[in-house]
Symmetry: C2
Subunit: 345 residues, 2 copies
DNA sequence: CTGAAAGCGCTTACAG
DNA sequence: CTGAAAGCGCTTACAG
């Protein structure tokens, strides 16, 4: 049994003794304070190296220091969109020497509130949140707390807080207008989770475009799962107002619709055009490849971290800052456009 | 300016004073110690509620308590496979009242080592790690440290530690044998990241199956990106040993191969059969749908957390426990099997 | 430029 | 069953 394994970790006191100085000198050296004689600092650094000393984070925090950690709460880490956001968050947090606590709410406000609670009291310096229900009352209490919060993707409806989101409405309009340009007039809107403000905005964008084009819009379809998607589409296409194009308002609905169309034997791109909101990498692998509104998922993550850190460091004078990021339309084939030239060999 | 915002958080002392008892009694009540008169406990709980008291985590840890947090380090959070693992880890950690630090190494051992360092000294009670390089020397030092570590997916090669992984070799054999049963003999193996032990095992499984079937195996292809994939495949299919089937050893190679085949005008499923290792949800959306070896990604996450917590709680007497999870073959169309019946309406 | 004192909020022995 | 003392490892004033 190696005794070294059981050896107690060196403390700041140990370093002070080893270097023959007072504890404060060690503390100052570590924290890069001015007023430490270079010669003394050298001795201290040498002792730190020799003892393999690392500051105890818990002790530091007890004396009121920042934890240099932030919390991130998303509905589902394995979701394509949120996993990209999470990766970006972690990435720019690391660039700022911040660690991130990751939690999933499973779209359950109770779990979410509990996670916020755990994080708040851990404590973290700030929280990045994708609210599962932006109208839940508990949000009101957390924004008045002492932990800064910035929402990602879904701004709160019951309170005002820092937020970073995407141009949902104009993104939807880009999609619908592209379909209109193709000459389509019977454009149906299909969504999932249409209770979310984000999705409502996209639906509003759809209606806005239709209205401007002086085309009557169809009642939008809200899908709750893959099975219901098939039934709903089957009914929609059998009815008298059979659409010639579809705007799917989020990636879940896009995927469900693609599967349903395939099962129903309706050819996407020829029988019916389709443009989705939220682009996913594998859309290029589907035949025909899927045209979609691309959200800057990584940027959403990066920007929100920066905004939170600025808030933590008190760099804002304003009560709340809202950032809205632009989206772009990635044109592929499902809208009816010609396939791109394959790169020649 | 609301004064309540600035109000100092209640401490254990405040609660003691408010309840008219000593601090120890409050501490005991919180921690559920026996020997606290029910009447006293009631007073304490009431004071806690009234003052909205929450124990200070930092102070607790300073006195040697567990942090009730674990670290998770994966190469890439946005990767389909790792995002599912991460979600599962977070899920079962929460079920045990544990918080998880999430970090991405970007397959860089330097970043990874730095993250381990940060986590170790934060501290966390244990670390879940997907090593970017299972032979890196730094791994030796961390296994002898005081923080328990269990590897996920990729066991260490330079040291012995707890690990949770998947049956790579036999999984590859299932895939290749399925192809052999289809009558294919010229089966090529295509991989990415073939320096990883995990991938080597899959390649070994491929060779093993070929050897047993007394069929010569082709030299395996190692792809490093999408572009090289197309060039390599083009060459492979132009050569005299043009394969009639492909075994792709991980999801990156599967996707690159599918794109390359499409660009080269080679029909998957008819011109060449394909079975991949690592199943991804959207494989059902590709035409033809992709047959693949499915890894129990969620279970990998769940099991590894449980194993780590057991290690943290000292429930193991053994020096290291290795868990190997089985995989299954999900048969779809790219292998040459008939499409499943669409579910009738 | 440097150090001794006091305290952050809790818990572990030790006494009642 | 309950409490006063001491200490966990740091840092913030306060003195030199």
């Amino acid at each position: 049994m190696r005794s070294s394994v059981l050896k107690r970790r060196a403390t700041l006191q140990d370093v002070a003794k080893a270097a023959g100085v007072g504890p404060m000198t060690v503390s100052r050296t570590i924290n890069g304070h001015p007023y430490v004689a270079e010669e003394t600092a050298k001795k201290v650094r040498e002792a730190i190296r020799r003892l393999d000393y690392r500051p105890n984070h818990a002790a530091r925090m007890l004396t009121g220091k920042l934890s240099r950690s932030i919390g991130l709460i998303v509905p589902d880490i394995s979701d394509t969109f949120f996993s990209v956001v999470s990766h970006a968050v972690q990435d720019t947090a690391r660039a700022n020497d911040y660690l991130v606590w990751l939690a999933a709410s499973d779209e359950d406000p109770l779990i979410e509130a509990a996670q916020v609670e755990m994080m708040t009291h851990h404590p973290v310096d700030g929280i990045l949140l994708v609210p599962s229900d932006s109208r839940n009352a508990y949000l009101k209490t957390i924004v008045t707390g002492s932990t800064p919060i910035v929402t990602i993707d879904r701004p709160m409806e019951v309170a005002t807080s820092d937020s970073v989101q995407v141009e949902n409405r104009s993104g939807a309009r880009m999609a619908v207008e592209h379909l209109l340009q193709h000459g389509h007039r019977k454009i149906a809107c299909v969504a999932a989770n249409s209770h979310l403000l984000t999705i409502k905005e996209r639906i509003a964008g759809y209606k806005e475009s239709m209205r401007r084009a002086k085309v009557p819009y169809l009642k939008e379809l809200n899908l709750s799962n893959q099975l219901s998607a098939k039934a709903a589409l089957s009914k929609l296409f059998a009815g008298r107002s059979r659409p010639d194009a579809l705007f799917t308002a989020n990636n879940a609905s896009t995927i469900w619709v693609i599967e349903a169309l395939r099962d129903l034997g309706i050819q996407m791109g020829t029988d019916v055009a389709l443009v989705g909101f939220d682009d996913v990498d594998f859309f290029t692998l589907i035949t025909p490849s899927v045209t979609a509104v691309r959200q800057p998922a990584s940027e959403l993550g990066n920007v929100s971290v920066r905004q939170l850190l600025q808030r933590i460091n008190g760099e804002f004078k304003t009560s709340s800052v809202r950032t809205v990021l632009p989206v772009t339309l990635t044109i592929r084939e499902s809208c009816g456009c010609k396939p791109k030239n394959k790169t020649a060999e």
